[in-house]
Symmetry: D2
Subunit: 333 residues, 4 copies
């Protein structure tokens, strides 16, 4: 197996990838951005890519939400939850008192602002393309060693503890400096649509992309009704602009359950009818193994019983594919 | 074929039955009440019974609504619309000026009250078990001929013109005396459930009995949503008490469409899940041949396309009856 | 006070009227029908009329539902629940074995059919305009005493025990012969709209007439939402034809609560907007004193708090009647 | 008047601020971040702050959405729409062929990726804290002039044309390089809650923050119903994590209309009842002057007429603040 992930090595994303069975021994290709990672999947250069989709502090990862919503189809086949903890690192010999300028990814910076205001008031922030990149820039490139700040423009970095494991020469000035100790990021492993559908475990999640049109209150209610009338719970709903003009959205949605669950399948059929451009992004086991609570009348048994009842009433008159009007006639194109 | 109908001969119900092809040459058994007619169907003594279900002035015929809602299952296989017009009849020699007491069925009396107040103010009303019974009582029984009022207690009757066709000796004192000239009664032909399902014509009606429980606003909305989310229009909805205690109801409902229409079948499956004691009373052609308007996304094609989409996403994992949990189980383990 | 009621004396309706404080000493005018009783109220000939509105076995009393729904406005100011029990009476000297023909009102007959089939199989039914009228016809008119059946056409009557209290000369052949021992009829006392609004007791009922138009599933849902979104429970909902043509209805509805309850007032305002011809028939104490359960967020306090919050946000800009557009401009005509 | 805005001078935010009448002559304080700008408002250091809230390509500006949703209350009093166009600038003498590394804010970079892939394939990206900061870093600081790339780490910047107006010495290598020519950013002017409520113009917008709890499909539908049942249209809906844990959200919502519009006020009252921690962020004129379409039955006139109808029915019994239960009580007395 070949995997892409949002690099460089040492990011939280690599930590998520390493939680996948067999990934330690597999080819792991760090790439510079989520779009690049997904492009590698689409091009067949790798089998799957691990990318962040949601952070408990910062919200949805828009690069991921947007990249899976358009372009050729993809499938989420697995998710991973990684607790987020931050360390402040510097070149060897640096002390906390020396720190004037700190670099990290802007998302990480947002999550340590409280600690900085408290412990390093007045420190300057220097943006970086990833937490690991900021940290690695502090290490000697080979020649000059002194004055890292004059070389990089900063003298400390905020990064994942994984970077320190891989680069023990980094000086850890402070550990666990995130403002929210319970912060967690959810990552998804994205493959091509021909990947096998993960089996139904009873504790599954299904991810969808649903475009929204004109009248938002009414259209959104019509969409939500498709779930509510089948007892399908939403565990995440995020709006994203289509990019075309202000006020045009799509919704990225997670629901509890698997497409092999009758209630989820029925909701998807209803959604497909009212919103033909709905996109299915996969059914896969929840990382937290939380089993969905399903009312008796939304169970597979209730669906099957109701279907059998109607079929018996229809008798031998039940329409077969042959007796129905031709495909092109009346359905959504 | 053997038919029962609400008699005696000469009622509007017989007129409805005679509109059925072949009924003129068939056995037609007049019976004394709707329950008796339906009991004859259930017992196999006749093949079907013609009974009134709805009148444009008086509303639902409660005897029929209640009789089909309980007991062994029945199927409506046909409907008939009969314009209601009334004549005032008397024994030969009677004139309008002679009339002091008028008899008829209470429903008919309600529909001629305006005419009576206008033309025969102060006339007394004598209830009768049917319009035809009132009229026929005016005819000489064989012996005495004079003083019909002293014998029957009334000297005129309100009935259907059909009675006069069959008994030309009746004197017609006034014709077309109904207060509402557009009055019409809908009749249904009721058979046993093994009767063949009438074919789908595109202008069909489906009749259901739906029990309602506890919280009326919420439960009724949940029921109506099953129709609304599939674009199924209701053409009649009537509440009826179950007879157990005040506030316990069932609903008698007609919807546009046939159980072989995908949107109707899907709504019935949803109804069966939320309300397992829903009763199907039949799909049959509308007497007025009015074709239902169906939005593209509620068409058979849209249902089939959505089903195919989900099936393709489920792939070879699509559950078969064998792979599903046993009937009695209620959810994913 | 002067009262009209559906007579003659001895009916269940008189029993309901006698439950009203002061009614025993007041003028009580028996009339021949519900429309006549309500016409007397409208004409100012009486102050109020007691009429049946609902029976736990037979359902809504259509004559009442229709008469209060049209014509000049009326107000229900009180309700009464009367347990329905039936006795079989005859002229003195008659025994059960003598009975061949039984008379009563058709609603009463429907409620004793089981007893009749069991104890008097084969007995003939003779319709009567009221239960009391049937019973009183059995009493000697003054001259002839023998052969009541030859005179009336029947030899026993089904009526209320009240008739026997008033006419102890009637022979009671059997008591408590109703098929449903828990049968109860609800009566309402109807006055003109200028009658004082009954005070709020916390256990109140409000009665409404709501016309329904075109698309039944959608329109009915829009109506029900007005109640559901304010936590107002429906305790009765009955459909009635308008009489104009098949499929045109109005709904007669009872809701828990009083128009002085904020949630009921707000629901009525919403109903008035979506359905301007909604008719208010009164708020009055429930005869069963059952207190409505109201969620905290639907309480008067919650309404007042929300109103105060919005008013504060609007500040001194809150529109006054003077600053609003002229009355005729945009509202329902 | 004193204004804060997301600086430095030359950003799109300053362009938005300059569209405010009188802002050119007022004190304008550039600050380093949205939270800093809003903190200055809350502290009374400035009267208002101009901040971006939504971009047609990138979506909601999460820093703004989060900062106004928590902390002490704020009010949006105005909005501005600024078309987004980008220029590529460099130090004098640089040509397009010289460019190896380009710096800008990450949001801007996302919007010129297509142009870069097409015209400067292989170019490296260097993050910056703002578009203007990247551009200004290219200008000589005073001493050294040569080798800007060796000093800044990049040799070109993507920024707003406003920067070039203010610093004509910058070399424009390419103009209008945004991938989406229709891109626009919406900015809002945020003041303290005691700011006067902007007058109602008929083309207004109201912004709200609505927390969402447990069951998302059901709770979100209950919220949306508050708008739908009053005919209030949503023009923007964005979900944001509360930051506490995955799956806990609040919604940032824009609706068409002003809090002085009866339908908006009524929807806010309903929202306040079902969701007491709803936050009102202001009603203000739409920058595009688009007048809302309001159905007759949702007009101010319809609300006033319905209110008058209910008040008349309540008569002199209408509850006054004094006659109502004390604030803390929750149900009917």
């Amino acid at each position: 197996m070949r995997y892409a992930y949002l690099g460089p090595a040492g990011t939280f994303t690599e930590a998520a990838l390493l939680s996948v069975e067999g990934a330690r021994g597999a080819e792991r290709r760090p790439v510079s951005s989520v779009p690049v990672a997904l492009a590698a999947v689409r091009a067949g250069e790798v089998d799957a890519a691990m990318v962040p989709i949601e952070n408990s502090v910062e919200g949805g990862v828009t690069a991921t939400l947007d990249a899976v919503a358009t372009g050729s189809e993809l499938r989420i086949v697995r998710e991973a939850l990684v607790p987020i903890s931050f360390v402040l690192v510097a070149a060897p010999g640096t002390t906390l008192a020396d720190v004037r300028r700190v670099s990290t990814h802007s998302h990480a910076w947002a999550q340590v602002r409280g600690w900085m205001d408290d412990r390093l008031p007045g420190v300057d922030y220097v943006p970086a393309s990833s937490t690991a990149a900021a940290a690695l820039a502090l290490l000697p490139g080979g020649t000059e060693r002194e004055e890292p700040a004059s070389r990089t423009g900063f003298d400390a970095a905020v990064c994942s503890p994984v970077v320190v494991e891989q680069h023990p020469e980094l000086e850890v000035l402070a550990a666990d400096i995130g403002d929210n100790r319970a912060a967690v990021t959810r990552f998804v492993l994205v493959a091509r649509p021909e990947a096998p559908l993960p089996p139904r475990t009873g504790a599954d999640r299904t991810t969808l992309v649903i475009p929204l049109w004109e009248d938002r209150a009414g259209a959104l209610m019509e969409i939500l009704e498709q779930f509510a009338t089948r007892g399908v719970n939403l565990s995440r709903i995020e709006s994203r602009p289509t990019g075309n003009f202000l006020g045009e959205y799509f919704f990225s949605v997670d629901v509890d359950g698997h497409i092999l669950d009758a209630r989820v399948a029925d909701a998807l059929e209803g959604l497909r009818r009212v919103c033909p451009s709905t996109r299915f992004l996969g059914s896969y086991p929840r990382a937290d193994h939380k089993v969905a609570t399903v009312a008796r009348h939304h169970s597979d048994g209730a669906f099957r019983e109701a279907e059998a009842w109607v079929a018996a009433l229809q008798g031998h008159h039940r329409p077969t594919p042959e007796s129905l009007p031709a495909p092109g006639s009346a359905g959504p194109a």
